[in-house]
Symmetry: C2
Subunit: 431 residues, 2 copies
């Protein structure tokens, strides 16, 4: 058993709104103590870390990402959505090899862990590569092979089989750091009967479902035209919400749809940066929260964001809904921090991360608060939401292992990943 | 004469959308050359800087700030506007001494220069302290004593006299780095006759005017109730726009008001972060730009933002108006970068900064682009807007002087400023 004590630290535990100053004890992969004084004499610990000038908080949870798409960061911005997808994203993504997915994912993981994200949801293809990258990095992830069903039946069958195999192979792996889900990509990319088959597979595997839903106004209109129902009613009818479900976006929702999501305990991953950049609109987050829907935050991919800074998503969530609603108390700082930590964890059915309390897994980050933009020392919850960025993170611990120290990632080879990601991009766009 | 060459650099000049790779030459306070190869043999330069892995661009221009209010960062967030002002801001600001203004301003300047802002507009009180801090820091600033006229005539007279004296004393000082303006604080804090006197003083001094205008819906309504006119017509009637004018906010504007601003060449400082946080609303930036109004960006104070990261304001400007308008090409990256650099400079009548071209003042910043969130090397203009933050800035040059190197400010004592700012805050809130 390895024991670590962080002393002289400032802690946002997310158990309540009070900041704790003092000590936090880690035994192996779990937090075992938090309090103003050490739990035992300092010489009893394997390691004592001086937390002076650092703020410690739960690691951030990014509940919607396509990590490999970092290879397309900045490739085709400021374009109309269909042009962006059809002329830029899809032709290149169609060429992605397993190796591209590996390096793109590693580039994203590097950016995420250095910026304080300890858990992410990933929906993509070549998922064995993604899972291996997660395992190597030391990060926590909820992974799913997203399937698009606009293809012949035999290809549909093959994709579903692959998704099931991946979900079976990796669920609970990497000391439990990896969990899996089943994912029909979206109601507009999967025929109804295919969605029903994927839902059935999720039942068989006893796994949750992740999908894109109601991201753009056009998608909602087309769903109504094609199926006579808006996406929420359509997916409800297909039985999806009988499974635990996390939907990404949920931008265009009626009051009735919000009530339906609340009734089924469907979770919504709010992606404010991506929704703004793609001009999809602004999700009704205050209304969702008021209805009791669990709302978390996602970056979406670096192709539509274009970064994976969860501090920025928390800040956008706190700022945007004030400005849009005209209510300066809409989404206060603490609620934005909940969305980025504990509510993110709950959204993917992880009940042992997201708070710094004894018994929880040791997933935590350190922020350098001895910088001008964190003075005066008024309110650190406010400072984390309104003043902090990914670049303020210095140390990251996941499952009791320090994977970032002094701003350096200890588990991945940064120079190699940057080099290889650049090479992948050049190869993909040269032919 | 001191000559410096930056070699192996990547340059966003803002003269056009092309990125230049190669060299930039500085002689004393001016840029004298930019091109793919050095202008003269390397041994002819006093200093040769290796720009490998760095992106150089014009320093950012923050066109609306109250720097001293950094002392109130995080003090009273997530409150209704009137509660925030009346119960939190005003009682403490009323106690601000010259010393408080000095340390609050230095704290802000430190944050700004380390984050790549080379020029700022400041409207506050105790402006001699602000000007001295600017002079010492090496930054560029356009300063103005903001006057509130809700006071007896003798106090009005004294404030105006002080504002005039400050404007005279400091205009053109610090090797021309400091310019001044005249500022009635806002139409709702200055009686009409007092605004007319301030406008007359600006005429007499041949200086521009800066004011807050149409920030909140309530302000516009009350202006109509009190004066029978919306703020734009009210200020037009008082003769303000006969002087060169920069207004902050301009959130609630009709088409007709936008046309009026365009006709008078009134410049608008868009403060997206502050406007969202205070729930003021979202300015009609695409419409303003389409009408030919010069739009720049401001952070407002750290009490309502709560940081002075101009990269964030540029990103908000690029993201927000896409999401609100539903148009994914509203405010493209290059336009957001214009708003943060060259258009900011033009907005305060500085015609020698904001671009990296020969003949311009050497106001430039270096960004560390050898980081995961800037890979692949697709489009650096996009990367600066959608992926960068203040923390990516490593070096800052103003007027040919390097005031930040390797992330350290060379002109101000960071440890002392953080200590003193904290002490000021504690004293202000203890009694």
């Amino acid at each position: 058993m390895k024991t670590t004590l962080i002393k002289n630290g400032t802690f946002i535990t997310m158990a309540d709104t009070q900041v704790v100053t003092g000590c936090l004890e880690i035994q192996d992969d779990r937090i075992t103590y938090i309090g103003s004084t050490p739990n035992q004499p300092l010489d009893q610990y394997d390691e004592v870390i001086d937390g002076t000038g650092k703020l410690f908080m739960p690691g951030l949870v990014n509940t919607h990402c396509h990590a490999a798409m970092s290879l397309l960061r900045g490739y085709g911005d400021d374009l109309a959505l269909q042009v962006w997808l059809q002329e830029k994203m899809w032709p290149i993504e169609g060429k992605f090899t397993a190796e591209d997915v590996r390096f793109g994912t590693e580039l994203s993981i590097l950016e995420m862990v250095k910026g304080g994200t300890t858990t992410f949801v990933d929906m993509y293809d070549h998922m064995n590569e993604v899972a291996q990258a997660v395992e190597q990095s030391g990060m926590r992830a909820c992974l799913t092979r997203g399937v698009i069903g606009l293809c012949p039946p035999d290809v549909q069958d093959a994709k579903l089989k692959e998704a099931v195999q991946f979900a079976k192979d990796w669920h609970g792996k990497a000391n439990g750091r990896i969990t899996t889900m089943m994912s029909p990509h979206a109601p507009y990319t999967c025929p109804p009967d295919y969605i029903e088959r994927i839902v059935q597979a999720a039942h068989d595997l006893n796994l949750p479902i992740h999908t894109h839903m109601s991201e753009s106004r056009r998608e909602v209109q087309e769903n109504e035209e094609q199926y006579g129902l808006r996406p929420v009613a359509h997916l409800e009818k297909l039985g999806m919400f009988a499974r635990p479900t996390l939907v990404a976006h949920g931008v265009h929702l009626t009051d009735e749809e919000i009530a339906t999501l609340a009734r089924y305990d469907v979770r919504v991953s709010h992606n404010p940066g991506s929704n703004l950049k793609l001009a999809s609109g602004i999700a009704r987050v205050p209304e969702l929260r008021k209805a009791g829907v669990l709302v978390s935050l996602g970056t979406d991919s670096s192709a539509s964001n274009n970064n994976l800074d969860m501090f920025e998503e928390m800040r956008l969530a706190a700022l945007l809904h004030k400005g849009v609603s005209g209510d300066p108390v809409a989404v206060p700082a603490f609620e934005a921090l909940q969305m980025g930590t504990i509510d993110g964890a709950k959204s993917i059915w992880l009940h042992e991360v997201g708070q710094l309390v004894p018994g929880m897994k040791a997933d935590l980050i350190a922020v350098d608060i001895d910088q001008p933009h964190f003075y005066p020392k008024t309110n650190y919850i406010s400072h984390m939401i309104y003043s902090a960025s990914a670049k303020d993170v210095t140390d990251v611990c996941v499952d009791g292992q320090w994977i970032v120290r002094g701003g350096e990632c200890l588990t991945l080879d940064e120079e190699k990943i940057k080099y290889e990601a650049q090479a992948c991009f050049e190869r993909l766009t040269s032919s």
